[in-house]
């Protein structure tokens, strides 16, 4: 049984249950609630870039324009049984999304390609409180399960993959957002503030990847002649599914969680390179795969002298992945094939984040938030051979672990109806500095009606740093949202 079949087995009955309930308005017990949102997002380039590596544009070009709508239906079947379905629709006129190299590519993770108009079943689950036991809740279906205490830069939040497709739309609503997954989620409450959670993900999870993702990877492989991307995917089988376990409690007024995850990386990593003969040069083949991993995590949050603080630590143990580098050596007038075999990653490595926040009494509040991160979502610890032969290093996407300082300053005015903020992230250990800034202004025109404007500005070395690679892609955006 493959992953898609397993997904369907779970999702179809849930959708049928919810829509059957809808068709029975006379059913006295069930209460329904509809809600939704319509959003317009427009972004422009404020700089010229004809050199890539990801985007090619003139100053003033549209970067992205999209109308997005969300419709959510909540149904309370009884005091203990509820269901939720959220359907998202996107219209992106003039969008050209196609990515044949990666089956998960596309804005909404549609296989193969993304259309200018798309529908996405974002969530669909049924929740049963007091399932079998008074202290046990069961949620089955497509759902978001959030682990960790950090602000977005979580290192233990492994159950839902990051939405990297929207990462490159630079829509701030999707900044490091994770996508719901089909899961069976059991939550047991042995004591009032304690929870033991067991989650089974019937299919493997992959991050939706952006259009042009293979171009992004090729930019990392510029030393190879005409690299062709190949992705090795494994069929999800029942024996090969992912699961997680977490115990959380409150001790001495500190919220803490201990977690374990066994599953796959949701992003692909380079596994092998085959270089063609220099005599008959052709495409070089580059192979990627989604390795498996186990993650032991701890997360904490509390306050000290009115300052909020949090910390997360993850010990990541990748499966042993055999990597290869097949090439030719020209020795003694002869071409000798060379086949190197080595481990792709270190046996284990650590990722962690610590952070703190405080609100100063300036206007209606000046909120400051600082986080220090070791290891961004795309990074891993590679073996020395992998670094040598694949050119993996700090300061590149899908490269070696490095440190970051992230900050947010938000000034609130008019009781929070007007907010001026700057989000920033600085790359600290790639040898050359780079940073990305997200200044924004948000105004709540009326209840449920928002207008916001902002920019994405990156700076740094274009070839040796991560954020610097976007330094010529300065973006200004305008966004309106109406909730109902």
């Amino acid at each position: 049984m493959n992953g898609k079949k397993i997904k369907k087995i779970f999702l179809i009955p849930i959708i049928l249950v919810v829509f059957n309930l809808l068709a029975l308005p006379g059913y006295t017990q069930t209460r329904f609630d509809f809600s939704g949102m319509i959003k317009l997002f427009l972004s422009f380039y404020a700089s010229r870039n004809q050199e890539g590596p990801y985007f090619y544009h003139h100053s003033g070009d549209f970067a992205f324009k999209r109308i997005e709508s969300r419709l959510a239906l909540n149904a309370m079947v009884s005091d203990n049984v509820s269901a939720r379905v959220r359907l998202d629709a996107f219209a992106s006129p003039e969008a050209l999304f196609s990515n044949k190299d990666f089956p998960e590519a596309g804005i909404l993770a549609s296989p193969g390609q993304t259309e200018p108009f798309e529908l996405s079943l974002y969530e669909a689950y049924v929740k049963i409180n007091h399932f079998l036991l008074k202290n046990l809740d069961l949620t089955v279906g497509k759902q978001r399960i959030q682990w960790g205490t950090a602000d977005k830069l979580n290192v233990v939040d492994n159950l839902n993959p990051l939405d990297l497709a929207n990462f490159l739309t630079f829509d701030p609503d999707y900044y490091l957002e994770r996508r719901p997954q089909t899961a069976v989620n059991l939550e047991f409450y042995p004591f009032k503030d304690s929870k033991l959670q067991l989650v089974w993900l019937p299919s493997r999870q992959y991050s939706p990847l952006p259009s042009g993702f293979s171009e992004m990877l090729k930019a990392n492989l510029s030393a190879l002649p005409e690299p062709e991307i190949n992705l090795t995917t494994e069929t999800s089988a029942l024996k090969n599914t992912n699961f997680g376990l977490r115990f959380s409690t409150v001790l001495a007024k500190v919220d803490m969680g201990l977690s374990y995850y066994r599953g796959n990386y949701s992003l692909p990593y380079i596994q092998g390179v085959e270089l063609s003969s220099p005599i008959e040069p052709s495409l070089s083949q580059v192979y990627f795969k989604y390795p498996k991993k186990q993650v032991l995590g701890i997360d904490l949050s509390g306050e000290l002298k009115s300052i909020g603080w949090w910390a997360e630590l993850a010990r990541i143990q990748p499966e042993s992945v055999s990597a290869w580098f097949d090439s030719y050596l020209f020795m003694g007038g002869q071409l000798i094939p060379v086949a190197l075999r080595f481990d792709l990653m270190e046996k284990f490595y650590w990722q962690w984040v610590i952070g703190a926040d405080y609100t100063f009494s300036v206007a209606d509040g000046l909120y400051l938030n600082l986080q220090y991160l070791h290891g961004l979502f795309d990074e891993a610890a590679f073996s020395s051979q992998a670094k040598t032969y694949f050119g993996l290093r700090k300061g590149m996407w899908f490269g070696e672990l490095q440190d970051y300082l992230a900050g947010k300053a938000e000034l609130r005015l008019l009781k929070g109806d007007l907010k001026a903020a700057v989000n920033s992230m600085v790359e600290l250990s790639s040898g050359k500095s780079s940073a990305i800034f997200y200044p924004s202004v948000e105004y709540k025109i009326h209840d449920a009606v928002f207008l916001s404007a902002g920019a994405i500005l990156a700076t740094g070395d274009r070839t040796q740093t991560k954020f610097g690679s976007f330094s010529r892609d300065r973006i200004v955006y305008l966004m309106t949202k109406v909730s109902f």
Partner: protein, 264 residues
């Protein structure tokens, strides 16, 4: 002559000492009376005379200086916790942009906010307690636990036939937003009817008035109005369908319930 001066000096010193004793005893008496009255108030709000729990719907109206109004609807549950701070859970029913937003108060420094847009529970540290709660004139601190005596030293300022007026001064090190509160307590119900709230600079910042009604055997504040004196804005909150002593279980006041959708 010298003897007269000496006698006069002794008289003055004695008079000063007696005056000081009188003033200090009067202050001590006022403080004793203040503590006694505040205890009466707290007996009604969080003590032995308070309901074990309250469940109600709440209508919130935020009015700005121009008179424009914003309305919010929410559900509120509170539970008297005999061994610590009382517990409080609030869930928003409207407007759409904050629907399902939840606030869980388990103690002065244990407050959680559920953000439905991100499906995330976030702990609110004490520094956030001065912040406006969903754009209203109430701060997180105003909606926190109901006790005063742990954070303020009370003194009886004045009284008449109907009310006592207490002056509450913030204790050193107390993590509270207001430096001073002038509390007017209704003698008939033993509950506050007006609170003048002073900021750190000692200036009048907000004025809260409340109407108390009988629900079963209890007096309960049913209507609140918080006026921001400086901004000239006002927020009213009115409880409806109030139910008391429903034997609400402890599990209602936990993250498990904070995330649950409430459909009226």
């Amino acid at each position: 002559m010298r003897k007269r001066v000496k006698d006069f000096s002794r008289f003055v010193i004695l008079a000063v000492i007696l005056s000081l004793i009188f003033i200090l005893s009067a202050v001590a008496k006022a403080q004793d009376r203040g503590e006694e009255i505040l205890k009466k108030v707290e007996d009604q709000t969080i003590g032995s005379l308070a309901p074990a729990d309250i469940q109600a719907e709440m209508a919130m109206v935020i009015r700005n200086a121009k008179g424009d109004e914003k309305k919010r609807e929410l559900m509120v549950w509170t539970k008297n916790n005999p061994v610590g701070d009382d517990w409080r859970l609030m869930k928003f029913l409207s407007p759409a942009d904050i629907k399902d937003l939840g606030l869980l108060v388990l103690g002065e420094d244990q407050i959680y906010l559920y953000l439905p847009e991100f499906q995330r529970v976030r702990r609110i540290a004490s520094h956030n307690k001065k912040e406006s709660f969903v754009g209203s004139d109430f701060s997180y601190d105003d909606l926190g636990t109901s006790g005063f005596s742990a954070f303020f030293s009370p003194k009886l300022k004045s009284e008449d036939e109907k009310v006592w007026v207490l002056e509450l001064l913030r204790k050193p090190g107390a993590k509270k937003q207001y430096s001073k509160i002038i509390m007017t307590v209704d003698k008939a119900t033993g509950l506050p009817v007006r609170l003048e709230l002073y900021d750190d600079s000692g200036e009048l910042f907000k004025v809260e008035t409340q109407e108390n009604s009988r629900v079963g055997k209890y007096w309960i504040p049913i209507k609140f109005a918080m006026e921001n004196v400086k901004a000239k804005t006002i927020t009213t909150m009115e409880l409806k369908n109030v139910k008391v002593d429903q034997k609400l279980s402890d599990e209602i006041f936990a993250e498990r319930n904070l995330k649950r959708t409430v459909i009226k």
